[in-house]
């Protein structure tokens, strides 16, 4: 069994479970203020301590995981749903006007600094989790489109694609029946990596106040709010920071591990 896959999957699973559990149970209500108990140090009462409104940090991290994961899942979903068909189409009609159009469009999106555009989108349409999702999702499209086009181009030269063409199958059908199943490995691996980048991007947007809005807890905003109190209440910054660190680490390890397991060139004793 692949070690980084196991560790990565375990780390990621911790946060997914935390997010799921938060729907039915959290130790403390994250919207209720409890000013007398503000800025408590981590202890038995409050596992990770409390913030300047007396809210339980542990509960906020659990609910925050929900936001982070939802944003990242939908953003990767947008990127895959739009990017993969674009990449397949570009590869199927390689060298055509459509190919040029799709790939130069991708270059255009790639050429802008992603966080700036995200800030622009949220600035124009208002700060909300939905707009953050759209902004992050748009930047996932060229990543998947390029990845799929590159892999698909080499698959199009295979004899089995030729055999499918001899069987009278059209480009769309070949793309979905022959090309797509053979690029899923790549998609899964890139998906986990984009997922971790999505979590980072959401944290970044929330940090500058453009992500999920209060009172919905978000790791990024927790970090932003802790900034001024870091000298006397470092736990406010440490726990959301660690949550981001471990989720991203877990997902990256999982991506690495999946690549090793799924890529036949790296797998031993095949055939």
């Amino acid at each position: 069994m692949n070690r980084s896959l196991v560790i990565g999957a375990a780390l990621s699973a911790v946060f997914v479970v935390a997010a799921l559990v938060s729907f039915v149970w959290v130790p403390y209500d994250v919207t209720a203020l409890d000013i007398p108990n503000k800025l408590q140090k981590p202890g038995f009462q409050h596992l990770f301590g409390t913030d300047h409104f007396g809210r339980d940090i542990f509960s906020m991290i659990m609910v925050g995981a929900r936001t982070s994961i939802a944003v990242a899942v939908v953003a990767v979903g947008i990127g895959m749903l739009i990017g993969v068909p674009l990449g397949l189409a570009a590869a199927a009609r390689k060298g055509s006007l459509m190919d040029e159009f799709i790939m130069r469009g991708n270059d255009l999106v790639f050429a802008f600094p992603s966080l700036l555009i995200a800030i622009m989108i949220t600035a124009v349409f208002g700060a909300s989790a939905v707009n953050a999702i759209i902004a992050i999702g748009v930047f996932n499209i060229p990543v998947f489109a390029r990845l799929v086009r590159g892999a698909a181009l080499s698959l199009w030269t295979r004899d089995y694609v030729l055999a499918a063409r001899v069987s009278g199958k059209g480009a769309a059908r070949i793309s979905f029946e022959h090309i797509l199943p053979n690029v899923t490995n790549l998609l899964i691996v890139q998906g986990t990596i984009q997922f971790s980048l999505g979590i980072l991007a959401e944290a970044g947007l929330s940090y500058v106040g453009l992500g999920a809005q209060p009172p919905t807890p978000s790791w990024g905003r927790m970090l932003a709010e802790s900034q001024t109190m870091f000298s006397f209440a470092p736990h406010l910054a440490i726990f959301p920071g660690l949550a981001i660190l471990f989720t991203v680490l877990g997902l990256n390890l999982m991506g690495d591990g999946l690549r090793d397991v799924l890529d036949p060139r790296l797998r031993r004793a095949q055939r």
Binding site: D159, L162, R165, V166, S167, G168, P181
Partner: protein, 529 residues
């Protein structure tokens, strides 16, 4: 004392025995051919001489190379011997060279690794090695990159790397299998000359008896990790004892049984076919250049006949295949199947398409690795307006599988569970399932071992008679075409240079190129005319 002495060599990989009690011996200046099909342990024998064992490999016995006990030496000492005392040439010249390094630097590198000489001296000696491998300086400066060379020229560079240090033993593992017949003949001649000049020992590994028959001094035949027969060549051919060696000998020149029932009427007809490829523009507004891959080719394939189309790689035969299949538009002339044009714009004309199918060369690349055999074989049903469903589909599938000698149960397996020969059977089943009239065999047996090749040729002959098929054999290998085709076409640089009955072409070749091709075919002793 012999140059190389292998006695009682046993080897296992993760506990699975792959070599059993192998003994052989190579003298200086001697050419020893090791023959066997894939999986017979011939490459493993070579690797155990180099001590380049795969992971989990364990060798026992003795391997003595000019006095060194190879199995006992530490890795450091082995590194000195590899390249210095033993050179190696691999099958695939496309992957044996570093694509981003100039050929001169690659040859010089092997010298620099082993000897403390200056760079300029290493390059001088690299130049000499390339010259000796018939890559003269004016045509092949050392600044060439591998992609600028043909397959045969790359193989010469690989040989130059192997002989640059004048090793005592050269191991060539299937050095010509990936090459055309004419190139194969040249490379073999080169190896023979180098062996004689340097007094090297040459271990020539191949699956084809005919390749080694006229150059080896000694032949070792291996099967399933054991030496079944060995002896001096060509005397061994007259007194082969082991049934396996005899089978191998027979397979090299296999003649499938076939009755002729050729009708006069043409099935496929090509008239003055021209296929141009657009070349990339050199400047932004430069005139578009074209490369003419097929130049005015005309021929008919008659119903029920086996027609051979022979030519070396790059002669335009693959381009022609794609044009015949209606996958690409031709720039001139017409291709008709039963009177209907094969190319019909974006929407394929399924009525024409369902009359022909194709079998490709590469048994590994011809199948989607994520599909079951059932789905793979049934794919051409897409061409039918009402593809059979349910029981009818299953019946057609099992009939196709059984007719190529596979079991119905194989339908639920994935392609990686099959060997190369079995995969080629599956490819034939896929071509058969919609009962086409014409099957195009694009180098369909070129990647197979001789014994498997003989089985597939028998199968094709049997199926041809049973289903009334017409075959178009496209190959670079004359010996295959010779035994199965009624008529032959010889193609060179996009044009048909000679055509006629197979027997006539082989007995009285007219064109210079045809003569070259025929002369290049390796001959077994006693079979030469």
């Amino acid at each position: 004392m012999s140059l190389l002495e292998i006695t009682g060599l046993n080897m296992e990989i993760h506990g699975t025995p792959v070599l059993r009690d192998v003994s052989l011996c190579i003298e200086a200046g001697q050419i020893v051919g090791i023959i066997g099909e894939s999986g017979s342990g011939k490459s493993m024998t070579a690797f155990s001489v180099m001590q380049l064992l795969p992971e989990g490999g364990q060798a026992r016995g003795t391997v003595r190379l000019s006095g060194h006990d190879m199995l006992a030496l530490p890795e450091e000492a082995l590194c000195k011997l590899r390249g210095n005392e033993v050179g190696m040439v691999f099958q695939e010249p496309m992957t044996a060279l570093n694509p981003i390094q100039q050929i001169g630097a690659q040859v010089a590198e092997t010298i620099l690794i082993h000897e403390s000489v200056s760079r300029s001296e290493a390059f001088t000696r690299a130049r000499e090695a390339l010259n000796r491998c018939e890559l003269p300086e004016d045509k092949f400066p050392m600044s060439r990159y591998p992609h600028e060379l043909s397959g045969g020229q790359r193989q010469r560079v690989v040989i130059a790397m192997a002989i640059a240090l004048q090793p005592k033993l050269l191991i060539a593992d299937e050095p010509t299998t990936a090459l055309d017949v004419t190139t194969q003949a040249e490379v073999l001649r080169l190896l023979k000359r180098l062996t004689a000049e340097d007094g090297m020992g040459l271990m020539l590994i191949t699956h084809d008896l005919a390749v080694v028959a006229d150059m080896a001094d000694h032949i070792v035949i291996m099967r399933a990790g054991e030496v079944v027969e060995s002896g001096p060549c060509p005397a061994l051919f007259d007194r082969m004892q082991h049934p396996y060696s005899r089978a191998l000998l027979a397979a090299s020149d296999h003649q499938p049984d076939r009755q002729e029932h050729v009708l006069k009427e043409p099935l496929l007809s090509l008239q003055n076919v021209v296929r141009d490829y657009a070349l990339p523009r050199s400047k932004l507004f430069a005139k578009q250049g074209y490369f003419r891959a097929v130049n005015g080719v005309s021929f008919n394939v008659r119903r029920g006949e086996n027609l051979g189309l022979v030519g070396e790689s790059g002669c335009g035969k693959s381009t022609l295949t794609r044009a015949i299949l209606g996958l690409e538009q031709v720039q001139g002339g017409s291709i008709t199947l039963d009177g209907e044009a094969v190319f019909s714009g974006k929407q394929p004309n399924r009525a024409v398409r369902r009359k022909m199918q194709v079998v490709f060369q590469d048994p590994y690349g011809s199948f989607n690795p994520r599909w079951t055999v059932r789905r793979l074989v049934c794919e051409p049903f897409h061409l039918l307006d009402t593809p059979p469903q349910g029981d009818a589909r299953e019946a057609a599938l099992s009939q196709a599988l059984e007719s190529v000698g596979l079991a119905t149960e194989d339908a639920d397996k994935y392609i990686h569970e099959f060997s190369g020969g079995q995969r080629q059977r599956i490819a034939i089943a896929r071509a058969l399932i919609i009962k086409p009239e014409l099957i195009i065999l694009d180098e369909a047996v070129s990647a197979l071992d001789v014994s498997i090749r003989a089985q597939i040729l028998d199968l094709l002959a049997d199926l041809g008679a049973r289903f009334g098929l017409t075959y178009l054999f496209i190959s670079h290998d004359l010996s295959v075409v010779r035994n199965v085709c009624d008529r032959c076409l010889v193609m060179q640089a996009g044009e048909i240079v000679e055509r006629g009955l197979t027997a006539d072409i082989f007995e009285r070749p007219q064109h210079e190129y045809t003569k070259q091709l025929i002369a290049a075919v390796p001959q077994l002793p006693g079979k030469a005319e």
